[in-house]
């Protein structure tokens, strides 16, 4: 075959490519290429690298036999998750109420100051009751749990635990028709869904990558942890003896995470049997050696990059939202405020889901970032007449109770927050990565439908059994 090709003169890249393919004879030479490279590196290392003690190298992986074992892998994973939640909830209580009373004292001074200069009521309302209360509430409720949760999570990440989680989850994902690496991108979603969508780039097959993108939303991100943690600690351990409240709260949060994972697997399975049919591809997952994290540096970095930036975003949006919701709640049209009108518009639909109109509005207005949903909701409630002093988290519960909340309302809001559409940043990232309006819309529509279905079912079941 050499002769005709030797005289050939391809005049374009395509022609050259065709020539190369004829030379390759339609066979794949990738295996040969890779084989030759491996032989080269093996021979080089044989000469240049000496191992004093092979056993010492293997020692690093002894821990892996336990944390990725078929028997102990999952219990250890759940235990670690439980301990992280427990530390967060137990540790955040005291600083939260300290911050709240600190801000309360400042508010008293502000009030006195406004009275001293005879400031008009509306100005006092907008600035102190709207802006100040809104932002100070966000800080006192969101900062302490984040300051504990994110650094612990970062320490686990730098220690090398995440790939082990992926390794344990791998079998589950394989049987759901997704890619094993989806476990890794899912773990990343616990931090930030938008970053996790970017990380799906490590999945080679477009089909499996799309499944990973469409289901990433079902694990709670930075923006949703505060909502889940707060509602769980306020409502979920109400009837339990006080020494167990932290434990029960942690268990409820673990339950939320498990629900999220089950939904992830179920949706992956359905997608891989319908719109995104196919067989899972093979891959190798590397388990890097465990490394002792640089504790101080990791904690500082996590506090700066995560805790403070989440808080920052919440405040940037919460401050103007506080003003706007106060104005909407204090301008009356007919017999009620504009805000009340808007909320009552959503009420019938919301009640079917065990929520109320204010909650639905908070989720709609919270599209840009999940961390502002709760602040918006609270300011909505505050401006609708229920003036409650915010000096402790117990009083925050009173605001909810004054608006007819029960444990079922809290549970439904947690479920809705866990399952509903991803935030605006994530949706934008999905659009940039998939370049498809259709898949972007689906990535919001699928979770929304599931969120509505799950909260509706929960509510109707609770009513039917007379639990509420």
């Amino acid at each position: 075959m050499g002769t005709p090709l030797a005289t050939e003169k391809p005049d374009s890249l395509d022609a050259l490519y065709a020539m190369a393919q004829r030379l390759a004879n339609g066979e794949s030479i990738r295996d040969e290429i890779v084989g030759d490279i491996y032989r080269a590196t093996h021979s080089i290392c044989h000469e240049a690298v000496k191992y004093e003690d092979k056993k010492r190298l293997e020692q690093t992986y002894r821990l892996d036999r336990i944390v990725t074992s078929p028997i102990w892998g999952f219990p250890i994973m759940l235990a670690i998750l439980g301990v992280v939640f427990w530390l967060t909830i137990a540790g955040a209580n005291v600083p939260s109420s300290m911050l709240a009373s600190f801000f309360g004292v400042i508010e008293d001074y502000l009030t006195a100051g406004f009275q001293a200069v005879h400031a008009p009521d509306w100005l006092y309302g907008v600035l102190v009751l709207g802006l100040y209360r809104g932002t100070s509430w966000v800080v006192s409720v969101m900062l302490p749990p984040m300051a504990i949760f994110f650094p612990i999570f970062a320490l686990l990440e730098n220690f090398g635990y995440l790939p082990r989680v992926a390794f344990n989850m791998d079998r589950l994902f394989k049987s759901s028709g997704g890619h094993g690496k989806q476990a890794l991108t899912m773990s990343m979603g616990f931090g930030c869904n938008a970053a996790a969508i970017l990380s799906t780039r490590i999945i080679e097959s477009p089909r499996e990558r799309m499944i990973a993108i469409l289901t990433n939303n079902f694990v709670p991100c930075n923006g949703r942890w505060p909502t889940l943690i707060l509602l769980a600690s306020l409502f979920m351990a109400a009837g339990v003896a006080s020494q167990y409240t932290t434990l029960v709260t942690a268990l409820v949060l673990m339950g939320m995470v498990l629900i999220g994972i089950v939904v992830t697997l179920a949706v992956s399975w359905i997608l891989s049997k319908t719109a995104l049919r196919g067989v899972p591809t093979h891959y190798t997952l590397e388990l890097p050696p465990f490394r002792k994290p640089q504790i101080l540096k990791t904690v500082l970095l996590a506090s700066k990059d995560k805790s403070l930036s989440v808080l920052n975003r919440a405040i940037i949006v919460a401050a103007p939202a506080g003003v706007i919701t106060w104005i909407l709640g204090n301008i009356t049209v007919g017999d009620a405020s504009i805000l009340a009108h808007m909320a009552s518009f959503f009420d019938p639909f919301a009640h079917a889901l065990g929520l109320d109109g204010y909650i639905i509005m908070a989720f709609l207005l919270g599209l840009p970032a999940n961390e502002i949903v709760l602040p918006i909701l609270l300011m909505g409630y505050l401006s609708s007449g229920a003036m409650v002093d915010l000096e402790s988290t117990a009083n925050i519960k009173n605001i909810f109770l004054a608006h007819g909340w029960t444990w079922l309302t809290a549970l439904n809001m947690m479920l809705f927050s866990l399952l509903h559409y991803p935030c605006g940043t994530t949706l934008f990232t999905i659009y940039k990565e998939t370049k498809s309006v259709k898949w972007t819309v689906l990535s919001a529509a699928i979770p929304l439908c599931i969120a509505i279905a799950v909260t509706y079912a929960t509510t109707q079941i609770a009513y039917a059994f007379g639990w509420v």
Binding site: A24, V49, A166, F290
Partner: protein, 242 residues
Amino acid sequence: MMEKTIALAGNPNTGKSTLFNALTGLSQHTGNWAGKTVTMAAGHFEYQGQAYRIIDLPGTYSLYSNSTDEEVARNYIILEQPDVTVVVLDATSLERNLNLALQVMEMTNRVVLCINLIDEAMRLGVRIDVAKLQERLGVPVATISARKKIGIDGLLEKVGQVASGQLIPEPAPIVYSREIEEKIKMLEPHVVRLLGNRFPPRWVALRLLDGDTDLISTLKSPAGAPAAEAGEVMQLGNASCH
């Protein structure tokens, strides 16, 4: 003086981002798991009066563009042609890591190998003969610990020599089977005739034999337009998300 460009390539989880942070003083997020960096981050630093722009490429096991991150890394090296490509290797699993280094050395000769985690390797009793490696590979080799900031000066010394052209590495080519080598020889002159010497002809010939259609479309897009890639680079760390 012109700013020189350095690209950091390497397998996932070898400490590229840690080295990037050590050099630039930035705080690109680091984590002990494969595939943490999937986009490129850019930063700047100066060493001995020379300004450098440094790009943290996504960590990959190969550069055959199986997935988006491999394509991002490969296109950067081929199209942007950085002044120096530093391949970061994990000293504790050198053999596997060298596979990628050899692939990079097929794409450019301006390579410096940076063996990271050397402290870890010492602790585990792994002895690496650097002189032997340099002799076999034909490119400069530096050993460092990015975490403990050991050996950074030695690395930058070598990077500087390659960047300024004071040292021109001559990577030892991988010798393939006789059959493949013959086919490469037949294609090479045509590659040079069509593309000039802008891209390494031996490497392009090998990719064509391997049936790499992605490469054809990349090379065809307006003279392998580098502009499209520039948009991928995140300036100054990871500002994209909360």
